[in-house]
């Protein structure tokens, strides 16, 4: 049995069902991110693991033990909140020591453990400070140390980076991942930021309207999105509406372009509309490009984004973006110009609705 199992979890608030039949098995030491937009139920699932909410149906197991009926304080779970939630009346030391004092540890043990935790987050020199004397990033690191101090069996991170500025966010997420790997603690991370989830997770659960649309590694989620929602939520994927030409031969039509897919579409009928996903970075305009498939259209706009240039063109009523690496001598396509994007047929993915 996996270390953390969510078995058929459902949760309703009044008439509204916010989590619908959620299944998930997380291995010991794994870092799993719940990714999704606001209101998709990801935080509710996290809160049910913590024991702040009771599932309307289903069971949660941690290390083989059914958590139903266990209070939050009995679950031995660490949690970091979006709003830091440090106790304002306590110093950094006392905040980190809080869980240990509650557990009735000896003063010497508390002292040693708190120092160890503060060393881990690199804030040993700020032990006497109060939360209001620290920056957001420092407060969140203290919150992490406080959550880890009692050696919890699972660590829950509820959008811990959302309140921080961009630079701190990147450095802190790397720090969180390093600490998690060092301690080997099973971690569930909730975020709506796909870059965050992709960069630090072993696996990602993409949630949509109370369900897990896809569970997979960051690479699987990014490169092989299972649904149209996953494709549109993770990365800047082009979703192209195409018309099925010959289901048996896997051919589709986008504007005037006839394209043969690698994926079978035999279940569809001729004339059906099918959604095809294509990453902006998958294609190239170069004549010498190795792609076996081509898509011709008219340029609408070109945007300079620093390291890349994003060009948008239309084909068969679809707006399609593609990225090129920036180079000072590169001639950029102009609006109204006809361009041909070349890519491998394997880059085209059929997405479910």
């Amino acid at each position: 049995m996996s270390f953390l199992v969510l078995d058929g979890i459902k949760k309703s608030f009044g008439q509204t069902q916010v989590v619908k039949d959620f299944h998930m098995a997380i291995e010991k030491g794994e870092f799993v991110s719940f990714l999704g937009p606001s209101g998709c139920g990801k935080t509710t699932v996290l809160r049910m693991i913590a024991g702040f909410e009771n599932p309307s149906d289903g069971t949660i197991f941690i290390n083989g033990r059914n958590q139903s009926g266990l209070k939050t304080s009995q679950r031995n779970i660490g949690m970091v909140f979006q709003a830091y939630a440090l106790f304002p009346n306590m110093s950094v030391f006392d905040n980190v020591a809080f869980g240990l004092k509650v557990a009735g540890m000896s003063k010497a043990d508390i002292d040693a453990r708190v120092k160890e935790m503060l060393r881990l987050i690199g804030l040993e020199h700020l032990a006497d400070r109060y939360p209001y004397q620290m920056s957001g990033g420092q407060q969140q690191r203290v919150a992490l140390a406080r959550a880890l101090a009692p050696k919890p069996q699972v660590l829950l991170l509820d959008e811990p980076l959302s309140a921080l500025d961009a630079k701190i966010r990147v450095s802190l997420r790397e720090e969180i991942r390093q600490i998690q790997m060092k301690l080997g603690i099973t971690t569930v991370f909730v975020t709506h930021d796909q870059e965050e989830a992709l960069s630090i997770s072993d696996r990602i659960v993409v949630m949509n309207a109370g369900r897990a649309d896809q569970i997979g590694t960051p690479s699987e989620i990014y490169n092989r999105p299972a649904t149209r929602f996953v494709a549109s939520f993770v990365g800047t994927l082009n979703i192209i509406d195409a018309i099925v030409v010959d289901p048996a031969a896997n051919t589709i039509r986008i504007g005037d372009n006839i394209i043969t897919l690698r994926e079978p579409i035999g279940a569809l009928n001729q004339g059906d509309t099918v959604s095809i996903a294509l990453r902006p970075e998958a294609g190239s305009l170069s004549e010498s490009a190795t792609g076996d498939t081509a898509l011709t259209g008219t340029v609408v706009s070109t945007h300079f984004l620093g390291s890349v240039v994003r060009t948008r063109f239309t084909a068969g009523g679809n707006q399609i973006s593609f990225d090129m690496f920036n180079a000072p001598d590169k001639v950029l396509p102009q609006p109204g110009e006809t361009v041909t994007l070349r890519f491998a047929a394997s880059d085209l993915l059929v997405v479910k609705e």
Partner: protein
């Protein structure tokens, strides 16, 4: 612009004259006990009066008990309402405002009917019981101020997240309330306490009708029978109130220096 400034100063001047001239007059009169010269004889007479010490001490004790039991009632209530039943806040606001709407004399007559010596709960049947009733009536009177100051202090911290943070670290309710919440609303608790203290020290109706030897009825008694001492007592009562207000300001300033943020 200049005219506006003139009227602003005029308003302040009128206010100052209205408030301070009677007070200065009272203070000046309180110093005239000795013929032909100013002295603090009236204050000496007041402080040497055994009844003053007894009633002042009694009211102090009542104020202290009111603050302790009032806070034990109000802090958990305000906390619970914020955490579990936020939709009940308007109801709580209404209930806590009632003592401002219902005159004290109506409340105390209600008490006397409900808790007299021949009732099922005969509080007035003994001195101790009457004192308990007096403390409860003072808690009722101070509800609007106590509840608001505590509730406002709770608004400055994220009660829910702090509670959850403590809970997940293994803390139980008493620990959460007394170690995580109470210290962070201390400024509100103290503000409420000082206002309560000022109210109880000057309260007349409840104490007089429950026949308890409090400071308020003593003030009235002295006022009816003596000349200079009532003025001295009025100045002393003002000093007590101002001291409470000063301490309140001091506490608010300290709480500003250490903002509590969840």
């Amino acid at each position: 612009m200049k005219m506006t400034k003139f009227f602003a100063w005029l308003a302040i001047a009128v206010g100052v004259i209205y408030f301070f001239v009677p007070l200065l007059g009272t203070f000046e009169f309180s110093l005239r006990m000795r013929r032909g010269e100013y002295s603090f004889d009236a204050y000496g007479s007041v402080f040497s009066d055994a009844a003053f010490r007894a009633t002042f001490g009694f009211s102090m004790l009542m104020a202290l008990l009111t603050i302790i039991f009032g806070m034990l009632l109000i802090v958990p209530t305000a906390y619970w309402v914020r955490l579990r039943v936020p939709q009940m806040r308007p109801v709580m606001e209404f209930i806590t405002l009632m003592p401002l709407v219902i005159p004290a004399i109506v409340i105390v007559f209600g008490y006397l009917r409900l808790y007299n010596s021949s009732s099922y709960i005969p509080f007035t049947g003994s001195t101790f019981g009457t004192n308990v009733l007096l403390v409860m009536s003072y808690i009722t009177l101070s509800l609007p101020y106590m509840y608001r100051s505590v509730d406002t202090a709770m608004r400055t911290i994220d009660v829910r997240t702090l509670t959850e943070a403590a809970e997940i670290l293994g803390a139980k309710w008493p620990t959460i309330l007394f170690r995580c919440i109470f210290p962070n609303v201390m400024s509100g608790v103290l503000s409420g306490a000082f206002i309560t203290f000022a109210i109880v020290m000057g309260e007349f109706t409840m104490a007089a009708l429950l026949n308890r030897p409090a400071f308020g009825p003593y003030l009235q008694l002295v006022g009816a029978n003596k000349a200079y001492e009532p003025s001295a007592l009025a100045v002393i009562a003002f000093a007590i109130t101002w001291l409470s207000m000063g301490l309140l300001q001091l506490v608010s300033r300290f709480s500003k220096m250490a903002p509590s943020r969840a």
